[in-house]
Amino acid sequence: MPRPVIQVSNFTKTYRDFVAVDDVSFNVYDGEIFGLIGPNGAGKTTTMECVEGLRTPDGGRISVLGLDPFRDVHMLQQRVGVQLQEAQLQKRIKVKEAVKLWCVLYGRKAADGERLLEQLGLVEKRNAWFMTLSGGQKQRLFIVLALINDPEVVFLDELTTGLDPQSRRAIWELVRGIRERGKTVFLTTHLMEEAERLCDRVAIIERGRIVDMDAPEALIRRHCPERAVILSTDDPTAETRFRSIPSVDDVIVKDGRITVRGSQTDLVTEVIRCISESGLQVTDFRTVLPSLEDVFLKVTGHSIRD
């Protein structure tokens, strides 16, 4: 079992009468990408900022790399990298100036910053003002700044919110790269696709409470095992043939389209085997697999977009 680098137990945070985070406990282990997922206002950022030492918890214990994040914040800052939600830099600061400042603050050589700019594809933007960067470039710069001190843990808060799908995918690649360097990543997102593609483990947070926590595939298996194959065929025997497959729960025929449902992981294989063995002519074939989005709907009773 890898060692936990972040330990949160019975953490609570209240703003006046509003309980933002209520008795939350989780561990983040060395070298994993851990995601805190949930809708806006669920308590993700509050939790992350308390773990970063930017806010004080009202109750519970938080430990990061063996340090108390609030009391030892200055010691912790040297060992972690932070990207904040909706943060900005001075509008007219140049990319290279921001990077140089960060190098000075963390006692790093300017060459370290330059190398990161190169790795994140920002070299041509060295002399550009912050305000002239695109959304994706700004987020890449914030990743550079978060990595300048070669941190052991990297915090990424809603990293790709507001980015177009292409920039989003590029950023996901970068985050996987961070893990490959042996670092631990703790991120928040309200994008279920992002969590599913990026995270080794996720905790679903809803109204300040953790509803469930596991690897995305495990959560899907646990909460939404139902899957379906949708296909088109003119063969009148198809329905009975599919019904005879043991792992099939239901077959629905509508407008020449057949939907085969089941909860076993071998459903797709079995349907394909059946088609092949009985020589069915199939004109269309696709699968509908459950996603983290469905898990969210199931465990919270509403869609994340509500």
Binding site: L54, H74, Q88, L89, Q90, Y106
Partner: protein, 249 residues
């Protein structure tokens, strides 16, 4: 020296001058007011009657100096509000930069700006004003720095209260300019009603005007220890207050 202070200050200076409107408004406005008043004055009374009057010899330079100071403070209020609203303060605070270092760098920038504007004003105003050997310019500059430093703390209080960047400058102006009206520059302190005198005596600009006017006239520093004491008190009170109410985000 706190880590990053010099570096951050240098960046803030560069960033300030990259915004043409802010730089023009803050630096050139007081200079223009001063030069225009000089032009108008010398046209009204070409034969030096006006230019030798007390109003022209003392009050106009003091007025220009106070404007320099207030502009620096208003600019600070706006910048802090923008930085807070944009999450810039928060981002900087999540680094090894100490909170005081971030604010100190802004104070240094504004004090440097004040000094630079004063020098520019004197150079450009030379033609219209009898600024000669009898005026202690260095001491006056120092008095202006003390004034600005003190009023900047009032700026921090305003910046702590103002909710958004949009309102920062107007709210700042609404607080500071009435202070100027009661500062004794336009209406002599003794000519005010007792109520107004009471109000004026708790406003920092009253002491700034007294200090600047005195130093410009050639008074010794020792004659204005009361003014300096009041300005230091304003700084102490406002700094303590903003330390309590200042919001970083």
């Amino acid at each position: 020296m706190p880590r990053g202070l010099l570096h951050l200050t240098w960046i803030e200076i560069k960033v300030f001058f990259r915004e043409p409107l802010g730089a023009i408004g803050t630096v050139l406005m007081p200079v223009l007011v001063f030069v225009l008043l000089g032009k108008v004055g010398s046209r009204l009374a070409p034969n030096s009657q006006f230019t030798s009057s007390n109003v022209f010899r003392i009050d106009v330079p003091v007025f220009a100096a106070i404007l320099i100071s207030l502009n620096a403070v208003l600019s600070l209020v706006a910048i802090i509000a923008i930085y807070r609203e944009g999450g810039i303060l928060k981002r900087l605070r999540a680094t090894p930069l100490r909170a005081t270092t971030i604010l100190t760098s802004h104070v240094i920038v504004k004090l440097l700006l004040t000094a630079a504007t004063l020098v520019l004003t004197i150079l450009l105003g030379k033609r219209y004003y009898p600024v000669g050997a009898d005026v202690p310019l260095v001491a006056f500059g120092l008095a202006l720095i003390i004034t600005t430093w003190s009023i900047l703390s009032v700026g921090f209080v305003i910046a702590s209260i103002v909710p958004t960047a949009r309102f920062a400058q107007p709210v700042g102006a609404a607080v500071l300019y009435p202070m100027l009206a009661l500062s004794g520059l336009f209406v002599p302190f003794n000519a005010m009603s007792p109520t107004l005198q009471k109000i004026a005596s708790v406003l920092p600009l009253t002491y700034s005007v007294s200090l600047l006017r005195g130093i410009w006239r050639g008074d010794a520093w020792s004659a204005h220890m009361g003014d300096i004491g009041a300005l230091v008190l304003v700084f102490a009170v406002c700094t303590a207050l903003s330390a309590r109410i200042f919001r970083w985000e």
